[in-house]
């Protein structure tokens, strides 16, 4: 057994090619958050932070939960000791079904374990997002053009809505857009100055590369930007600004796993996820052992696996290189507008760009074309033309005919009411 390079105690694990004992490893990981905590500029005041957690028992919610408990552990420890200042943490659970019982028990366990009271919980049903049927539009993408018209579909549940999209990579994009938007709106409604995302280095690298692959390179800098804004329709200020940080952006996926294991944070996991944790993780390396089926995997899953392989094989420097490259990207200059689907700034003209590089007309010489040819290569679309970003154009091309999206003006009062209506649980009832 090698000894820890920092204190000569017997090492319990190796990370980034260095042997660590338990204490030094925990210190190492917690130390990585110091920069973020310092940038929050907390001296003697309480800092309100929002920690969003996606929770729908899918594979990604498992990752989200794992990361979140590591982040919470680190924040609570900071708050209790090191800086003599503290956070007021609000966990925002984004749920797609009635899984609130599980979450409540998690909340109770968490408070007991840490003896920490400055923590609240909010559970938000994502159904709120599509509830307002007046603003729900049917989006149709065809021949590199998007159109919209008021939706005739009634969705019974969020699952019903999501499952109308059969392409899993597209569904993944849609879910991200919804989560991203809802978190912003929530931060605005409850006036949170700071949002802390719990994504690990591997998650962020995956997001960066997958954005490149999906034609959404322009979004990278907007996602990683520390100062975020939200356009508000009926607010005098017109714009809500908050800070967004990724405190775990220097922590590898394998390190998240090790951290959870060493501190027995698995006890905190709701039972469903505990089971998932046992199935998915390899005891030795903490890495996902499932072999992806290339045909059924989503784009994100493939890219995630690529980075996990790099990490497993000792090439974590590539993962960190991608993250630091992403952080050096900027929003292009020039006139930009907001994509009505994903909300990210875009240069516009995506359809034209695609037309230019893809010819969609038939060869007219030789055989005389059949009479139907002219009527067909640009089928008439119903609805109003909608200028969406390149990434959405490509992704929602396969969304299917039921695909709908609430195209609203910037956040309005009615949405405010709806979101409030759909908050299942508040700290008030504790």
């Amino acid at each position: 057994m090698p000894t820890c390079q920092r204190c000569e105690e017997p090492a319990v694990l190796t990370s980034r090619k260095q042997p660590f004992c338990k204490d030094c490893f925990i210190k190492f990981i917690r130390g990585k958050q110091r920069k973020v905590v310092q940038s929050l500029n907390i001296k003697d005041k309480i800092v309100d932070v929002l920690v969003p957690i996606s929770f729908d028992l899918s594979n990604t919610s498992y990752v989200s939960f794992n990361n979140a408990i590591v982040l919470l552990d680190i924040l609570i420890n900071f708050s209790k000791s090191l800086y003599k200042s503290y956070f007021k943490i609000t966990m925002l659970f984004l749920v797609t079904a009635e899984s609130s019982a599980n979450i409540k028990s998690f909340y109770t366990t968490l408070k007991e374990r840490y003896q920490f009271t400055n923590i609240d919980i909010k559970i938000l049903d994502l159904m709120a997002f599509i509830r307002n049927n007046e603003s729900l539009y049917n989006i149709n993408v065809h021949n590199n053009r998007a159109t919209s018209f008021p939706s005739v579909h009634k969705f019974e549940s969020f699952e019903d809505y999501i499952s109308s999209i059969t392409n899993t990579s597209t569904r993944e994009d849609l879910l991200f857009n919804i989560h991203w938007t809802v978190i912003k709106i929530f931060a605005y409604l409850h006036n949170f100055p700071t949002v802390l995302y719990s994504n690990s280095m591997g998650n962020i690298a995956t997001k960066i590369l997958s954005n490149i692959v999906k034609g959404k390179g322009i979004e990278i800098s907007q996602i990683l930007e520390e100062s975020q804004t939200l356009e508000i329709a009926d607010d005098e200020k017109k714009q809500f600004s908050f800070q967004a940080f990724y405190p775990l952006k220097d922590v590898l996926n394998t390190e998240i796993f090790q951290y959870i294991k060493l501190l027995n944070l698995t006890d905190l996991l709701p039972s469903d996820l505990q089971r998932q944790y046992e199935i998915i993780n390899d005891e030795e390396t903490g890495s996902n052992n499932k072999i992806l089926n290339v045909k059924t995997a989503t784009l994100n899953q493939l890219i995630n696996e690529y980075f996990n392989d790099l990490e497993k094989n000792g090439y974590s420097t590539i993962v960190s290189t991608v993250v630091s490259t992403g952080s050096k990207l900027a929003i292009p200059k020039g006139e930009l507008k907001e994509c009505p689907l994903c909300g990210f700034k875009m240069p516009g003209g995506a359809s034209k760009w695609l037309d230019h590089i893809t010819v969609n007309s038939p060869c007219e010489d030789g055989e005389s074309p059949s009479p139907s040819s002219s009527e067909n290569h640009n089928p008439q679309l119903s609805g109003n033309p909608l200028d969406i970003c390149y990434g959405c154009l490509v992704s929602f091309d396969t969304a299917g005919e039921k695909f709908s999206w609430p195209i609203a003006e910037p956040v309005s009062m009615s949405e405010k009411e709806i979101l409030n209506e759909y908050i299942i649980s508040d700290d008030d009832d504790e």
Partner: protein, 379 residues
């Protein structure tokens, strides 16, 4: 699929082209999975290249253009299509085939024979420039001296100069190469994975020019899928040499290539999508970034400084700027340093040839080290 049904009912079971609705489906377009007939495929393939040429103002009437011809499918299709478009749309170009003989026995011998046949088939003049003539080394000799691992480094630098020198010799200022959309997308991915900031913003530029060099290079196949080039060559029965370079690419590039192939299986548009992303990548202003760099260097991090080879074999001259008019003291080729990159590499070779008994460790600066680490990577 409603479209399928429509085309089916027309003539019984015969499925008709989704574009012209009159001819038989023959090809599923790799780019967008459209099922089209051969004629429509030729039409869209050629017209897309034409549109790229026109919208980027790649040529001017009367321009002399050298087609970098390797005998492989990309450059063979390029020669064929450029000649065709030049005649169809009256570009008024004077086209010349320009081949480099690297001196790789087996690979180059056969491919040069192909180029010789292309010369006759397309009725285009052919010029062959050899490494032996230019550098007094053949690629085989270089590899036996520097090791197979570094072969792409050498070949990249030497080939670019060879094409430029060959073109200059013919009094031609413009070289076109057969780099396609897959190559472009791969370059974007590699630049992201390697954190190559110096090249990130220009990963997808269609026209490049080494600073100081009078030779312009462009890539008319920028948006053309590799698979479509293969299909085009196949259906047009073009005569090309299909063996890959015997010195295979570094392993790390290989893993990125596998990833890209898998991504393409899920979403066929993703090669185009990567290029779109690449065209919109912008770096934060330098000031902020330099602070970052300092920090990175303090950590002993990599900062590519030595030989930087692009996917297309071109080299970057680094950020030290270029003093115009400087020439290599050895060979007289334009260079920002007293000795040009090619001469520098060759000088290194001469030295290692002398010390051939010693363990060959190649270059050991940061960039090379990182590349080496990446090269040993396979999974």
């Amino acid at each position: 699929m409603t479209n399928d049904e429509k085309t089916k009912t027309k003539k019984g079971n015969l499925k008709l082209c989704e574009l012209c609705k009159s001819r038989k489906q023959a090809i599923k377009r790799p780019k967008n999975l459209q099922k089209i007939c051969k004629e429509c495929f030729y039409h869209v393939f050629e017209t897309e290249i034409h549109q790229t040429i026109v919208s980027n103002n790649l040529f001017f009437p009367g321009e002399k253009v050298a087609i970098g011809a390797s005998g492989g499918k990309d450059s063979t299709v390029l020669a064929y299509v450029l000649k065709l478009l030049n005649e169809r749309y009256n570009y008024g170009l004077e086209l010349v085939l320009l081949s480099i003989d690297e001196g790789i026995v087996g690979y180059r011998d056969d491919s040069l024979a192909t180029v010789q046949r292309n010369k006759i088939q397309y009725n285009l003049p052919l010029e062959i420039v050899s490494y032996r003539d230019l550098y007094n080394w053949t690629m085989d000799e270089i590899v036996s001296c520097a090791g197979i691992r570094n072969s792409c480094t050498y070949c990249g630098v030497l080939r670019r100069q060879a094409l430029d020198r060959g073109a200059a010799k013919l009094g031609i200022n413009h070289v076109v190469t057969g780099h396609n959309a897959d190559d472009m997308a791969e370059t974007v991915l590699m630049n992201i994975l390697r954190g190559d900031l110096a090249r990130l913003e220009n990963s997808t530029t269609i026209c490049t020019k080494s600073s100081g060099s009078p030779i312009k290079r462009s890539k008319p196949f920028k948006y053309i899928y590799q698979k479509e080039i293969v299909l085009y060559a196949h259906y047009k029965k073009l005569d090309y040499f299909s063996t890959e370079c015997t010195y295979a690419p570094e392993a790390f590039r290989g893993t990125a290539r596998v990833l890209m192939k898998n991504l393409e299986k899920i979403r066929s548009s993703c090669i185009t999508d990567i290029i779109y992303s690449g065209e919109n990548l912008v770096l934060k202003e330098k000031k902020k970034r330099q602070q970052f760099k300092k920090k990175q260097n303090a950590n002993g991090s990599k900062e590519p400084t030595e030989v930087e080879i692009r996917n297309d074999g071109s080299i970057s001259l680094g950020k030290h700027g270029f003093k115009d008019g400087n020439r290599c003291t050895r060979c007289g080729y334009l260079s920002s340093n007293t000795i040009c990159k090619a001469c520098m590499l060759l000088e290194g070779l001469e030295k290692s040839k002398a010390k051939i008994m010693l363990e060959n460790d190649g270059v050991t600066d940061g960039a090379a080290k990182l590349t080496r680490t990446l090269e040993s990577l396979t999974f």
